[in-house]
Structure formats: structure tokens, C-alpha cells
Symmetry: C2
Subunit: 190 residues, 2 copies
């Protein structure tokens, strides 16, 4: 795998995540890479293949996390440990996550997107497993979609660039607060 392939992958990722998959032409990706459209199609046989190469690593990592998660017991400690792991994941792959979170519904019938949607459903089912509460499910949706949105639009919302460790700690705080398990007796948050 040469430098061009990796360049194309990261360029495509940035464009797909910000401008959207269908709004990004192969011509534009080629221009940004300093190549011709034909060269892009030499490295990736189709636009869809390029999309797949773009988000597959994130999906692999997320699948790995989910597999480990479902093998554990559903203890509150397990949840806390998972949250730290998940925050690291979403920080590392924020562009990819924002992509298949927000563009997932518009890219049905693309196999790699179907896979992404399946993973999101698996994750939501984990959080909804013990609670039938509507608010609990809403909290999960807000946490997932909100984190993906915030991390990608941070600069356009007048965030000064904060050190990554501060962002990580703050995000763990917020998601822990949002997703803390409900006390089933009093139905108050513990």
C-alpha cells in the first residue's frame, strides 16, 4: 500500500465527513490529492470501495469493543470501564463515527454502511437491555449523536483547541452522567 493510497483514504475521509459522501465527487478528491480522477480509481476500483476503505478500520475497532462488551457481565463497573474505552474509540475515529452516524440513513444498500448501522443497533440494544425506560433510550441517542456531532463541529462552535486529555476527561464525565444506570426501585438516577 503506497503513500497515495493512504493519502486518498484520509482525504476522502475528511471530505466525506464534512461535505457528505454523495456531495463529494471523485474529481474533487483527486484534485485535493494532486492526482487525476483515473488515478483515484486505480487505487480504489470504485467510489464505494473508497468509502469502505475509509470507515472499515473504525468499524473493525467498534466490533471488537462490542464483542468484548457482550462477553462481560452487565455490571455497573463493566459499564464504567466500557465508557472509558468507548470515549477513546470515538476520539480516535470521530470523523468516521460522525459519518456513519449522520449519513447512515442516506446510504442504505451500501454493504459497509449496513454493517455500521448494525453495530449502532447492537450498541443501543446493550444500553436498552436492562431498562425499558424511554428516557434511558433517549439518553443513549443523545450521548451517541451528541458526542459525534460535538467532536466534529467543535471548531465551528468557537471551541478553542483544548488539550486532548482535557477533552477526554470531560467527555467521560458527561457521558457517565448521561448514561448512569437508573436505580430500578426509585426510578431516580443514582
Amino acid at each position: 500500500m503506497s503513500t497515495s493510497s493512504d493519502d486518498l483514504r484520509s482525504i476522502a475521509l475528511a471530505e466525506f465527513a464534512t461535505a457528505g459522501y454523495s456531495a463529494t465527487s471523485l474529481h474533487r478528491i483527486a484534485d485535493l490529492a494532486g492526482l487525476s480522477k483515473s488515478s483515484v480509481l486505480y487505487h480504489y476500483s470504485s467510489k464505494e470501495t473508497l468509502l469502505e476503505a475509509t470507515i472499515a478500520p473504525a468499524l473493525d475497532r467498534m466490533e471488537q469493543i462490542l464483542d468484548a462488551l457482550e462477553a462481560r457481565t452487565l455490571s455497573p463497573e463493566g459499564r464504567t470501564a466500557f465508557l472509558a474505552e468507548f470515549v477513546d474509540f470515538i476520539l480516535q475515529y470521530r470523523l468516521e463515527v460522525n459519518m456513519f452516524i449522520n449519513q447512515g440513513p442516506s446510504l442504505v444498500d451500501v454493504p459497509v454502511i449496513d454493517r455500521a448501522n448494525d453495530l449502532v443497533v447492537r450498541l443501543s440494544e446493550y444500553f436498552a437491555a436492562n431498562t425499558g425506560s424511554v428516557e434511558e433510550k433517549m439518553r443513549f441517542g443523545i450521548a451517541l449523536g451528541g458526542a459525534a456531532y460535538m467532536l466534529c463541529r467543535a471548531d465551528s462552535l468557537n471551541f478553542e483547541s483544548a488539550p486532548i486529555e482535557q477533552t477526554r476527561v470531560a467527555l467521560v464525565n458527561i457521558l457517565t452522567e448521561l448514561l448512569a444506570p437508573v436505580d430500578p426501585i426509585t426510578t431516580n438516577r443514582i
Copy 2:
């Protein structure tokens, strides 16, 4: 304004919000409305005009809310009252909000989208006015992007349809918790 115009507006809204603006062709909108593409362009002189008609009502309402908000004092009570108002707004216009939240960056140079982005910045500046805290800004981004995402993807995340009033109360709870002002002395959340 005839029935066809309103039909086209609501059809376009649903398609733009779910499939994305650039991924939705005038031909598809015409098909869904049972009309020809030429008829769509008879009611709305361009695709961009149709987009404008689609989200302008939501922008008018949001601008109205922001004007009233900035005229008030920045008291915690003002914040609470605003949150209830804002939740009603986002529930009524969830498709429109999800559109210019998630597709805003990909539709620059479209005047109506620029207006939407300006409004989002105004809102974020209100919440960031008293706190330079990075976590506070992150909380705002998560609340805004998360609520928009959750309300539009509820069905795909195995939400059973809940009564609207329950959703409203739960959303006010969650956003209040997320956006509660920080105690400036201890920098703990009150």
C-alpha cells in the same frame, strides 16, 4: 399557495432530512408527489428555493426565540424557561433542525444555510457567554447535536413510539441536567 406547494415542501423536507439535500434529486421529489420534475420547478423556481421554503419557517421561529432570549437577563430562571421553549421548538421542527445541524457544513454558500449556521453560533454564544469552560461548551454541543440526532433516529434505534408529552418531559430533564449552569466558586455542577 395551493396543496401541491405544501405537499412538495413536506415531501422535500422528509427527503432532505433523511437522504440528504444533495442526494435527493428533483426527479425523486416529483415522483413522490405524483408530479413531473417540471411541475416541481413551476412551484419552486430552483432546488435551492425549495430548500429555503423547507427550513425557513424553522429558522424564523428560532430567530424569534433567540431575540427574546437575548433581551432577557441571563438568570438561571431565564435559562430554565428558555429550555422548555427550546424543547418545544426542537420537537416541532426536529426534521428541519436535524437538517441544518448535520448538513450545514456541507451546504455552505447557500444563503438560507448560512443564516441557519449564524443562528446556531448565536445560540452557542449565549451558552458560552458566562463560562469559558471547555466542558460547558462540549455540553452544549452534545445537547444540541444529540437532541437533533435522537429525535430523528428514534425509530431506527428501537424506540417504541412514546406519547409526545412523555418525550417532552424527558427531553427537558436531560437537557436541564446537561446544561445546568456551573457554580463558578467550586466549579462543581450544582
